[in-house]
C-alpha cells in the first residue's frame, strides 16, 4: 500500500485515503479533434516500466488532485506536485535524474 505526500495539505497519506486517476498531463481533445487524436486522448496510454507521471486525488483528506512521479517497478516516489500544471516541475525532474540517470522523457 503506497504512501504519497499530498502537496496541498502536506499529509503523508496512505493509499486508502487516495483515489487513483491514471496518467497525468493529458491534453483534452474537444469537438474539433480528429478521430485519431480523440482516440489517443481517451484510450491510448503509455505503460512505462519505470518513471510514470500519474494523477491522484486526496479523496478522503483535503479532496485535492495532485500528481506523483513514481517508478512502476520499485514504487519509488520521486516527488508529488499540484495538479494545476501542464508539465512536471523542474525539481521533480531533477529528483528523477538523480535516481535514474538513464531516464529520458
Amino acid at each position: 500500500m503506497l504512501t504519497l505526500r499530498c502537496p496541498c495539505c502536506g499529509v503523508l497519506a496512505d493509499e486508502t485515503e487516495l483515489a487513483p486517476g491514471g496518467t497525468a498531463h493529458l491534453r483534452r481533445e474537444g469537438p474539433e479533434a480528429s478521430d485519431e487524436a480523440f482516440e489517443a486522448y481517451m484510450f491510448l496510454r503509455d505503460n512505462p516500466r519505470g518513471v510514470h507521471f500519474e494523477r491522484w486525488r486526496h479523496a478522503f483528506g483535503c479532496g485535492k488532485w495532485f500528481h506523483a512521479a513514481r517508478c512502476t517497478v520499485t514504487n519509488e516516489v520521486f516527488g508529488t506536485y499540484p495538479a494545476q500544471t501542464a508539465a512536471p516541475p523542474e525539481e521533480v525532474l531533477e529528483a528523477i535524474r538523480r535516481r535514474r540517470p538513464e531516464w529520458e522523457r
Binding site: 504512501t3 486517476g21 494523477r55 495538479a83
Partner: protein, 993 residues
C-alpha cells in the same frame, strides 16, 4: 510411544493441569503446553489424514511450518478449522477434532485413494476430471470436495461471538522475530533512540538459542535473553509483543501482523507503517527426502529438541536420528541426556568427526557414517528403520528397531518477508540455502531497502555472526529514521564448533523408483519425489509451472517445508543447477490469518456507516420497509397491518394519482455551483445550457462523461446571478461533486468557480398529487398558486414559519412540489403534511415515474447509453461548441442502428421480467442467440391496471407496433408490443395543473 517425562520442561507448569478432548476422548495437558505438545504427551501421534491419499499423518514440526497437525478447534459458534496445533496454546476445555478423516482417524475410507494412487497422478485434477463437462457440478466437484481438502468451513448459521480488532501504528523500526537476533536488533535501534516495535510469534523470547546451548556474554543464552528483555521493557520508545507474527510485507513499508493477545480480543490485526523492518525471522529446518518420511513419528530434529526441552515431551522411547550435519547431533545428545534411547545416528556424510559427533560417540551413541534410510517400517506405528548406503540405490544393510525418527536436513533462512514485496534471493552454495540478495532488496518509497535481514534469516548460523548482523541491522534501521544515539556494543557469544554440513536432497542418492514413490516432499499437499519428476518429464520445467501442476508448496505451506527439497528434485530431473531453477515466489501471509481477523470490527452494524435522513425516525415509526440505496436507507414502501408489499404500493400509487402523497427526497444530491465563471463551467458539465436558466426557474439537465455516455441527471435551479443549485440522483451526489471538482482542479483550474455538496444540509419532501397545492396552502405562509409558482419555477419563503425553498418540479407526472427545509426542521413540515397526505416510498416513486416514461439512471442507463438513445435530444444544446461528451457522441457508432428507449406492453397485461432479452434471428460469433433489445424497468401499474415496461430496443422508436419475443432462462416466452414509453397523461396536463 510419545510421552511426558517426569522432569524438565522450561515452558510448562506441572502444578496446573489443563483438560481437553481430542475426537471426543478426554485428555489432560499442562499449562504452557501447545496443542501439539499436549497431544504428544498423551501419546497421540496420528493427528490427521493427508490431503490426497488420506495417509495417517503426525506432528512434524514445532512452529508455524507444521504441515500436518491442522485441527478443528471448538464447537458451534466458536468452531475454527485448520488451527495449527504447534502454535495454538492449549486451553482448558478445548475440544479438538482431527480433519480429513471419515468415519474415524484410525479407519479412513479415503485411504482407498492410496491404493488407487497410480490413478491419481500429479495433475490429476486437470487430467481426470475434464470430461464430460456437465459432470463438473454434479459429480466431480462434490466428490473432490468430500474426499480432499483441508478442514470444513464453519456452519453458515453460526455467528462468531468473539471480538477482533485492528491496530494502526507508525514506527521507525519494526523487528520481526524475538530470538537473540531480534532482541539484539531491538536493543541497538532502541538505544539509538528509534521508535521500535518488536514482535515474536511464540509465547517465549529468545528463540532457539536457549534450546541449542548457546552462551552469550559468558552466560547461558536464557540469562542474556532475560536481561535484554528487561532492558527493552524499560525503554519508553520500545513496544514488545509476544504471540504476534509479522505475516506480510507490502509496498512502502506497510507491514501486517497478527497478535493473539492475552488478555484482550481473540485476535488483533496490526497494520504497521514501518520506516524499516528488521527481518529476524530465523530459519526453518528441512525434512530429509527418504521413503516413509511422512510416517507419524518422523519429526524434524529441532522439533524433537523443542518438545523435549520446553515441554518435557519425548517423541518415542527409541529414536533414530538421521542427519547430514552436526546440528542434528544436539537432538541425539539431548535425548540421551533425558534418559531416552538413541539406537543409531544415520549420518549421510562419509566423515563425521566434529565436536558434536565426537561427544555423541563418547556418550555411547552409535554413529553410522555414509548411511541413509531405505525405509520406515510401519504397523500402525513405527517399528524400525532400514539402513542403507547413502551412495547406493537402497539395499538394506541392517534393520534398526525404533519407534521414532528425528530428521535433520539443514536449515533454510525464513526469507518470506523479504520476498513478499519484491526482494530477490540468491542461492548460496556454501550454506545450500536461498539467502536475501543485498543487491535486490524490497524497497520503500525512498528507493532504499525497506527490509534489513538479520541473524539466521540472513543465512548466518553461528551465534556470534547472528548477533553482529542483528546489531548492524538495528543500527541501520534507526539511522534511516535519523536516530543516531549510542547503540552499545555487539555482545560476544560461544557455542560448539560445527563441521561442514552436506546438502542431501534425496536418500539414498540413487534411490530406485519404488523408494522415490514413497518419498514425500510436501506433506500437506501430498507431493512425492516421483510427482515432481513426472511433472518435469511432462514439460513442467519452470519452477512456477511445476509448483502449480504438482501443488508443491501451495496452501498454507507456502514453501516453508517443501520448497528447497522440491527445487532440488526439479533441478536433479532437469539437469539444471538449483541456482538456475530458482525459487517460487513466497506470497503473504506467512501464516494464515482468519477471515474474522481481517473483518475486525467491520461486521454487523459496524460493517459500513448507514446514512439516515432527518426523517428516518418518522419512517421507522410508520413501519417502513427499507431499501439500501448506497449507504442511505430509504423507505421502500410503508405497508400497513395486513397489507402485502404489492397492496401497499398499489395504495400509495393510487393515493398520489387521486389525492396527495409525500416522499422523503432528502437523499437526492444538492450541489451549489457559484462564481463568476460558473455559467461557462455548467455549460461544459451539462449537455444543455444552464447558463440560460433565468433566476427563479428550473431546468432538467443531463451530465455525460467524455465518452458521451449518460452518467447522471437532475433538475438545475438558478439561485442568483452567479449561483446555481444542481440536483443529482441519490447515488450521484458524491460522484458528480467529485466529477465537477476533477474538471475544475485539473483542466479549468483558472476558472473562478466553487462547488459545494450541500446534500445533507437540507431535508427535502416531495408533495405530489392533485391535492398537493391545497394541502400546502393550508400550511400557510406562501402563495403557491399556479400564477405565483408555475411549473419548473422555484421560490423562497416560510411555510409554518420554517424557512424553505419550494421547487415546482415533478418526477411523478402529477402536480408536484419539492420542499427543501434546513435539515433540522424538515420534520416539522413532514409531521403536518403526514396528517393529510399518504407517505410513499421508493418503489411507488419508481412505478409513478415508469408510468410517465421517465428514465432512471442505472435502470435505463448502464454506462453505454447516450442521451440520444433515450429520446432526450431536446436536453442537448446542439449548437453549443463543446461540452463534456460532445466529441464522444460525434463518433460513427453513436448514430444509426442503436438500441433506443420504448415502452413494452404484453397482450395479457403480465409484467415482463426485468432484464429479459428480446431475441432476434440467428446466432452470433459465439454461437449464442442474437438479441435485439432488453427490458430495463417493469412494474405492475395500478393506474393502468396492467403490467408496463420500459426497454431499449434496436431502432425501437421506428418499430412502433411490432411484437418482440422475450425468451426466459426456463425456456418460456413472453411477447410484448413496442409502444410509446409514456403510459400516463402523455399531454402532461396533470403536472401543469
Amino acid at each position: 510411544m510419545s510421552t511426558r517425562l517426569g522432569t524438565g520442561g522450561s515452558a510448562i507448569d506441572r502444578s496446573r493441569p489443563v483438560h481437553f478432548t481430542f475426537d471426543g476422548r478426554r485428555l489432560a495437558g499442562l499449562t504452557g503446553d501447545t496443542v501439539a505438545s499436549a497431544l504428544l504427551a498423551n501419546g497421540e501421534r496420528v493427528v490427521g489424514r493427508s490431503f490426497k491419499y488420506h495417509r495417517p499423518r503426525g506432528i512434524v514440526a514445532s512452529g508455524p511450518e507444521e504441515p500436518n497437525a491442522l485441527l478443528g478447534i471448538g464447537t458451534g459458534d466458536r468452531f475454527e478449522p485448520n488451527a495449527r496445533a504447534t502454535t495454538t496454546p492449549l486451553r482448558e476445555g478445548m475440544a479438538l477434532r482431527s480433519q480429513n478423516r471419515w468415519p474415524s482417524l484410525a479407519f479412513d475410507v479415503g485411504v482407498v485413494n492410496a491404493a488407487l494412487s497410480r490413478f491419481l497422478p500429479v495433475g490429476f485434477y486437470y487430467k481426470t476430471f475434464m470430461w464430460p463437462r456437465r459432470f463438473w457440478e454434479s459429480v466431480y466437484e462434490p466428490l473432490i470436495r468430500q474426499a480432499a481438502g483441508l478442514g470444513r468451513a464453519p456452519d453458515a448459521e453460526t455467528r462468531d461471538p468473539d471480538r477482533y480488532e485492528h491496530f494502526h501504528l507508525h514506527v521507525d523500526v519494526l523487528v520481526a522475530g524475538g530470538g537473540i537476533a531480534g532482541l539484539q536488533s531491538a536493543l541497538a535501534a532502541g538505544r539509538a533512540g528509534a521508535q521500535v516495535l518488536l514482535m515474536e510469534q511464540s509465547p517465549h523470547w529468545g528463540g532457539r538459542a536457549q534450546v541449542d546451548g548457546v552462551r552469550i556474554e559468558g552466560d547461558p543464552a536464557a540469562e542474556w535473553v532475560a536481561r535484554a528483555v528487561a532492558e527493552l521493557e524499560a525503554m519508553p520508545n520500545v513496544r514488545l509483543r509476544l504471540n504476534a507474527t509479522v505475516v506480510g510485507a507490502y509496498d512502502h513499508g506497510w507491514m501486517l501482523a497478527v497478535e493473539m493477545p492475552e488478555p484482550g480480543p481473540r485476535e488483533r490485526l496490526w497494520k504497521i507503517r514501518a520506516r524499516r523492518t528488521v527481518m529476524a525471522t530465523g530459519a526453518l529446518e528441512r525434512p530429509l527426502a527418504f521413503a516413509g518420511n511422512d510416517r507419524p513419528g518422523v519429526m524434524l530434529a529441532s522439533a524433537v529438541r523443542d518438545n523435549l526441552m520446553r515441554y518435557a515431551v519425548s517423541p518415542g522411547d527409541r529414536t533414530v536420528l538421521v542427519t547430514a550435519n552436526d546440528d542434528g547431533y544436539r537432538t541425539a545428545i539431548a535425548l540421551v541426556e533425558a534418559g531416552l534411547s538413541v539406537p543409531l545416528v544415520v549420518d549421510a556424510r562419509p566423515e563425521c568427526n566434529g565436536p558434536l559427533p565426537r561427544r555423541a560417540r563418547e556418550m555411547g551413541i552409535r554413529v553410522a557414517p555414509g548411511r541413509a534410510i531405505a525405509g520406515v517400517r510401519w504397523q500402525r506405528r513405527i517399528t524400525g528403520v532400514d539402513v542403507c548406503l547413502q551412495a547406493g540405490e537402497g539395499s538394506a544393510l541392517e534393520h534398526v528397531p525404533c519407534d521414532a525418527v528425528a530428521m535433520a536436513g539443514g536449515w533454510s533462512p525464513a526469507v518470506h518477508l523479504w520476498s513478499h514485496c519484491g526482494g530477490r534471493l540468491r542461492w548460496d552454495e556454501a550454506t545450500a540455502a536461498f539467502r536475501p540478495d543485498p543487491q535486490f532488496p524490497p524497497t520503500g518509497a525512498d528507493g532504499q531497502a525497506a527490509i534489513l535481514p538479520a541473524g539466521s534469516a540472513d543465512g548466518h548460523s553461528r551465534a556470534v555472526e547472528v548477533l553482529a548482523s542483528a546489531h548492524r541491522a538495528g543500527v541501520a534501521g534507526a539511522a534511516a529514521a535519523a536516530h543516531e544515539g549510542d547503540a552499545g556494543q555487539v555482545v560476544t557469544a560461544e557455542e560448539g564448533a560445527e563441521a561442514p554440513a552436506l546438502a542431501v536432497w534425496r536418500m539414498p542418492q540413487s534411490a530406485d523408483h519404488r523408494l522415490r514413490a514413497q518419498t514425500f516432499l510436501d506433506f500437506q499437499n501430498d507431493v512425492k519425489l516421483t510427482d515432481v519428476e513426472l511433472a518435469a518429464q511432462e514439460g513442467y520445467r519452470s519452477v512456477e509451472h511445476a509448483k502449480r501442476y504438482t501443488t508443491l508448496g501451495m496452501a498454507t505451506d507456502q514453501g516453508k517445508l517443501s520448497n528447497i527439497n522440491g527445487l532440488a528434485a526439479l533441478s536433479h530431473t532437469t539437469g539444471q543447477a538449483i541456482s538456475a531453477v530458482g525459487t517460487t515466489t513466497f506470497r503473504p501471509p506467512y501464516t494464515p490469518l482468519t477471515l474474522a481477523t481481517i473483518a475486525g470490527q467491520a461486521r454487523g452494524d459496524l460493517f459500513q456507516p448507514v446514512r439516515r435522513t432527518p426523517l428516518h425516525a418518522r419512517h421507522e415509526a410508520l413501519g417502513a420497509a427499507w431499501e439500501p440505496v448506497g449507504q442511505w436507507r430509504r423507505p421502500y414502501v410503508y405497508p400497513k397491518a395486513g397489507e402485502t408489499v404489492e397492496d401497499a404500493v398499489r395504495r400509495e400509487v393510487l393515493a398520489v394519482r387521486s389525492e396527495v402523497g409525500i416522499l422523503d427526497a432528502t437523499t437526492l444530491g444538492k450541489i451549489i455551483v457559484k462564481g463568476p465563471d460558473a455559467a461557462q463551467f455548467l455549460d461544459m458539465i451539462y449537455t444543455g445550457r444552464p447558463s440560460t436558466i433565468a433566476e427563479g426557474r428550473c431546468r432538467y439537465g443531463l451530465i455525460c462523461n467524455e465518452n458521451g455516455f449518460l452518467i447522471d441527471d437532475g433538475v438545475v435551479a438558478r439561485l442568483g446571478p452567479e449561483t446555481w443549485l444542481c440536483h443529482t440522483t441519490t447515488g450521484g451526489a458524491e460522484r458528480i461533486h467529485a466529477h465537477m471538482e476533477e474538471w475544475l482542479q485539473t483542466e479549468w483550474w483558472d476558472w473562478r468557480v466553487h462547488v459545494l455538496n450541500v446534500t445533507e444540509q437540507f431535508g427535502q419532501i416531495a408533495v405530489a398529487g392533485p391535492l398537493a397545492r391545497n394541502l400546502l396552502e393550508r400550511l400557510g405562509g406562501m402563495d403557491l398558486s399556479r400564477e405565483a409558482l408555475p411549473f419548473m419555477h422555484w421560490t423562497e419563503g416560510r411555510l409554518m414559519d420554517v424557512p424553505v425553498r419550494v421547487f415546482r418540479i415533478s418526477f411523478s407526472g402529477e402536480l408536484s412540489f419539492e420542499i427543501a427545509a434546513p435539515a433540522g426542521r424538515a420534520g416539522e413540515i413532514w409531521d403536518r403534511l403526514a396528517q393529510d397526505a399518504t407517505p410513499y416510498g421508493t418503489e411507488t416513486m419508481h412505478v409513478l415515474r415508469a408510468e410517465k416514461g421517465y428514465i432512471m439512471i442505472g435502470d435505463e442507463t448502464d454506462g453505454t447509453v447516450i442521451p440520444q438513445d433515450l429520446g432526450l435530444n431536446w436536453a442537448i444544446a446542439k449548437k453549443k461548441d463543446d461540452y463534456i461528451g460532445k466529441r464522444g457522441q460525434m463518433r460513427l457508432h453513436m448514430a444509426g442502428e442503436r438500441w433506443r428507449l420504448v415502452g413494452l406492453l404484453t397482450p395479457d397485461g403480465a409484467v415482463l421480467p426485468e432484464g429479459s432479452l428480446a431475441v432476434a434471428q440467428g446466432t452470433n460469433a459465439n454461437g449464442q442467440r442474437r438479441t435485439q433489445g432488453r427490458v430495463t424497468s417493469a412494474y405492475w401499474s395500478p393506474t393502468l391496471g396492467r403490467g408496463i415496461a420500459l426497454g431499449l430496443v434496436d431502432r425501437g422508436p421506428e418499430r412502433m407496433g411490432e411484437t418482440l419475443s422475450f425468451l426466459q432462462p426456463d425456456g418460456s416466452e413472453y411477447r410484448a408490443e413496442i409502444v410509446s414509453p409514456v403510459f400516463h397523461d402523455p399531454e402532461g396536463e396533470r403536472l401543469n395543473a
